[in-house]
């Protein structure tokens, strides 16, 4: 009953519903990519720079080397979405961990963790990501870790704020009066109450992570074995004045996906935020 109520509130936001459907479509394409295009998408299959629609076998055309744009786009969705999800998971894990401990215990623990999070915030994000990737090496995991390390601070601050507000609430006091320990209270009592806004922010971090990865790949620092959307844009940039579609198609895919993720984030906020709920 509760679950359906949640879906109902989410679906009331039309934009969020549309966004969720598009993301679902992209995710399906990513999952089913090997079914549609069983061969390696990076294989040269036709003559280079076929414009979209020129050859019905390659509806989105081919790139400068003669690779199928559609196959690369569908396979690229896998890499792009996975990077977004995992980077967001890394950022959320670090952020919730640090924020929960800082907010619950307060005092010098709070002081130290918040000052160090500020240290992270002072470094320009993209440069920070690039530095980490260059130091660790351009593999998919390292890019995910680098984006996670850069994106955890807002999540930590939000979690801390929620914990600060919740830790003095009466039900926490009541739990303490029943003999529950700190860990039990943090994980079992406060965290479930603090999660809704954090989930919203995490969904937005997915979108941010996709953009970061695109930037990294565009600059040629991406994983050379993975055809993510950012890399497709980067590959096409030399031909941008003649065959601009090579950049534009993956670029539009990034834009639409990020937009839809933001819409989903908004919808989650509407659905999860108790203040906006009309009981």
């Amino acid at each position: 009953m509760e679950r359906f109520a949640f879906l109902g509130r989410f679906a009331r936001n039309r934009g969020a519903l549309a966004g969720a459907l598009v993301i679902l479509g992209v995710a399906m394409a990513a999952i089913l990519a090997p079914l549609f295009f069983p061969t390696d998408p990076l294989r040269i299959v036709a003559q280079p720079e076929l414009w979209p629609g020129e050859d019905p076998a390659y509806p989105l055309g081919t790139d400068s080397l003669g690779r199928d744009m559609l196959a690369m786009l569908v396979h690229g969705a896998r890499a792009t979405l996975l990077i977004g999800l995992f980077a967001s998971a890394v950022a959320t894990t670090i952020g919730v961990g640090v924020g929960a401990i800082a907010g619950y215990f307060g005092g010098w623990v709070d002081e130290i963790s918040m000052r160090s999070s500020e240290l992270f915030q002072t470094i320009p994000n993209l440069i920070f990501v690039l530095t980490i990737v260059v130091i660790l090496g351009s593999t998919l995991q390292n890019i995910v870790i680098a984006i996670g390390i850069v994106s955890w601070t807002p999540i930590a601050r939000l979690t801390r704020a929620e914990f600060l507000a919740l830790r003095d609430r009466e039900f926490v006091q009541a739990c303490r009066s029943m003999g529950m320990g700190d860990l039990g209270i943090i994980l079992g009592e406060i965290l479930p109450n603090a999660l809704p806004p954090v989930i919203v922010l995490s969904s937005l971090v997915v979108a941010g992570a996709i953009l970061f990865e695109s930037a990294v790949s565009f600059l040629g620092l991406g994983d050379p074995n993975v055809a993510s959307w950012g890399r497709l844009v980067g590959d096409g940039r030399e031909l941008i004045r003649s065959s601009w579609y090579i950049c534009a198609i993956p670029g539009v895919a990034i834009m639409v996906t990020v937009l839809c993720l933001n819409l989903v984030g908004d919808g989650l906020n509407d659905a999860l935020n108790p203040k906006l709920r009309d009981r």
Binding site: F171, Q173, A174, S177, M178, G179, G184, P192, N193
Partner: protein, 354 residues
């Protein structure tokens, strides 16, 4: 900690002061709760505030002691001190002992307290709606307490939670197990809180204004429930309230607090019949009496409780007291025992010689 045998200690054999009336016949009993000279201080930037000072209190099994006073007089701080649930910093117990079933819990480490809270001593809070976790079901919240303190598994705990809900008179208990707090009324929430507090049959129950947030009919139900549970399990109960009507209905003995100190202690009937301390008299005078003439104005106590960091040198109540004497402003009256089981800290009424 250092004591070898709590029973052999000098304090344990001494019958609790002010307790003769109820328990003398049973001889030297190990009382469920015996608070001696408890002092709690708040260390703040604006100075030290003595939130509780020299509080002594003993509660026997099956007995209800009401802790009465205005807001800010140290009732809740006393309760939190006894539970060792003070916000530290700024608050800290600076002296005295809290003996729970004979064992002093003041020096115990926090880990040991985790085991004691909820098992030997339970607490019910003022606002039942906000005392329950809004995102957990009733079953989960009760089971958590049970599983923490007993060896029960998940399913046994659920069965026991069901029993407890029935015991606290929850209508349709089986269905309410899976309810969330916002689906319950205030009275039902308080029943859940009570079920959680008594889940492990604690020997002491502290009820911090358990009925203040409820409407009057529900209040009566909750009071009746608490009384009957207490009779069943023989719990010692501390009842914190500022509602003298509730005191008259539930308490055996009353402790009146003012500015962190005990100013009067008496059996409930004696207190209402002849309050000794002017503050107690003021509180009783400020309570509406049904059937009194309509035109009659309720008496009030002028002024406010003084801030704890600016207590007057003498009696803390002196600035508001109708019977104030010169001596009250200079010297602080000590507790005296004008009659057995009756204590008062006032120069004007006590047979004070100190």
């Amino acid at each position: 900690m250092q004591r070898k045998d709590p029973l052999a200690g000098p304090r344990a054999s001494r019958p609790a002061h002010a307790h003769e009336a109820g328990l003398e016949a049973r001889g030297p009993v190990r009382l469920p709760l015996e608070v001696t000279d408890l002092s709690t201080t708040l260390f703040t930037r604006r100075g030290e505030m003595k939130a509780v000072e020299g509080l002594s209190l003993a509660v026997g099994a099956g007995e209800t002691v009401a802790l009465v006073g205005e807001s800010g007089c140290g009732k809740s701080m006393s309760a939190l001190s006894i539970m060792r649930l003070l916000p530290e910093p700024p608050a800290r117990i600076v002296g005295g002992s809290v003996r729970l079933n004979g064992r002093d819990i003041v020096p115990l480490p926090e880990e040991a307290m985790l085991d004691i809270r909820g098992k030997e001593i339970g607490m019910i809070f003022q606002d039942p709606m906000s005392s329950l976790n809004p995102v957990a079901t009733v079953d989960k919240q009760i089971s958590e307490v049970l599983m923490a303190h007993t060896g029960l598994g998940r399913f046994q705990a659920r069965a026991r939670a069901h029993e407890l809900l029935e015991q606290v008179g929850m209508p349709d208990a089986g269905r309410r197990l899976d309810a969330y707090p916002h689906q319950l009324s205030g009275g039902m929430c308080q029943r859940v809180m009570i079920a959680m507090a008594i889940a492990c049959s604690p020997s002491v129950l502290i009820a911090d204004e358990p009925t203040t947030a409820l409407d009057v009919t529900v209040q009566a139900q909750v009071l009746t429930l608490l009384k009957s549970l207490q009779a069943e399990q023989g719990m010692a109960m501390i009842f914190i309230t500022h509602d003298l009507g509730v005191v008259a209905e539930t308490a055996d003995r009353v402790v009146v607090m003012y500015a962190g100190r005990k100013v009067e202690e008496a059996m409930v009937d004696d207190l209402f019949e002849a309050p000794l301390h002017p503050y107690t008299a003021g509180l009783i005078g400020a309570t509406p009496v049904p059937g009194a003439a309509r035109a009659e104005r309720l008496a009030d106590i002028p002024g406010m409780v003084p801030p704890l960091n600016a207590l007057p040198a003498g009696c803390a109540f002196a600035p508001r007291c109708p019977r104030v004497m010169d001596r009250c402003r200079i010297e602080r009256p000590a507790l005296t025992e004008p009659a057995p089981g009756r204590r008062v800290a006032c120069f004007a009424t006590g047979t004070d010689t100190a």
